[in-house]
Symmetry: C2
Subunit: 210 residues, 2 copies
């Protein structure tokens, strides 16, 4: 794998989409697919699909298309989807609990194995047998015990930086981040923002300017 080339985030996102499309084709028994066919599903140019795949070496042969199962396996390995990940949730509010209850993630190998909240009324509550909401000062110990690699932060903006710092200090290397606040990202942490407010504002822009 070429690891010195900076691969655009948009390409990674498309690889995820290709992976899921291939998974559904495999279920339907489809054996080969062309870059043109993949491209059509997502309204892309076939060149774009080939370019996205080329970041990770040569797949398939010109004119023969790709083997669905093999390409899916390779993309899965690139995306780290051939294994499972242990996740902790910081913030047991509405968004946090929605993430916790969303079964799709588990099917994809993303397991929420710990939940933390700073509210003493919440800490101690049990979400299901064996899954108690823990207080924030238990983050370090639990992250280490349960070998947690990814954190989901769904706390109010004013608590966001402390949550990031606690996870980083405990050794978590990747964070999915819901608060809208600006933060300093500790070195070596991959942080992905979800900003639902910005998504709504994009729609308000579209309605205002169409």
């Amino acid at each position: 794998m070429k690891d010195k080339i900076k691969i655009p985030e948009s390409a990674i996102r498309r690889l995820s989409l290709y992976f899921h499309h291939l998974a559904s084709l495999k279920e339907l028994g489809v054996e080969t697919i062309s870059s043109r066919e993949i491209a059509t599903v997502y309204g892309l140019a076939p060149f774009q699909v080939r370019k996205d795949l080329s970041y990770f070496g040569a797949f398939g042969r010109r004119g023969r298309g790709y083997n669905v199962a093999k390409l899916m396996d390779k993309l899965g390995a690139i995306l780290g989807l051939d294994r499972s990940w242990n996740i902790c949730l910081v913030g047991a509010g509405n968004i946090g609990l929605a993430m916790y209850r969303y079964q799709d993630f588990k099917q994809r190998g993303f397991n929420i194995v710990a939940v933390f909240d700073s509210d003493p009324k919440k800490a101690g509550q049990t979400l299901k047998p064996g899954m108690a909401i823990q207080s924030m000062d238990q983050i370090e110990q639990t992250v280490n015990q349960k070998m947690i690699q990814i954190g989901i932060i769904a706390v109010p903006p004013q608590a966001a930086q402390a949550a990031v710092d606690k996870l980083a200090a405990a050794g978590v290397k990747a964070i999915l981040f819901f608060p809208s606040s600006q933060i300093l990202i500790p070195k070596g942490i991959a942080l992905r923002r979800v900003n639902l407010g910005l998504d709504l504002e994009f729609l308000s822009y579209a309605l205002t300017n169409n």
Copy 2:
């Protein structure tokens, strides 16, 4: 306003960020700001900030910076944030109800004024005084009565296309879309996808390849 130029989505997203940064500066009593200062906050080149703003005409003067209040008002008008929007939610599951309960949106002028669900056990339940969950066949009438412009779809993948089509038929022009399924977007509809699974997969990629 130039309306023939196609403005990149990424620029619109940055304008939203600038708007919120200006709002917090205004609260702090700051009167002027340079493109360089805005750029620093977001790790951008000052040129990028000037370019994003230039899509909508000239703001401020070279060397003097921007007037915070004026620039904020202009960005607010561009983004449609100088008014409020009526929103309906389709799908009263975990993600849907998290969106419903998220108070930040209301403060920004995004009001969820109706909630629909196909589950007859949910339809009829009351979320708060005056806000009953309605059945799907009430979408058209309610969208018209309450002058709803934006729909949030948080239904299972297999119900997603029907929900899009119902909202479009009722006259909704903008949709925030949570299901991971592929869909046909009716003409004239602005649709913005939120795919939390892809965001987690981006982190799994980052962990696998760093």
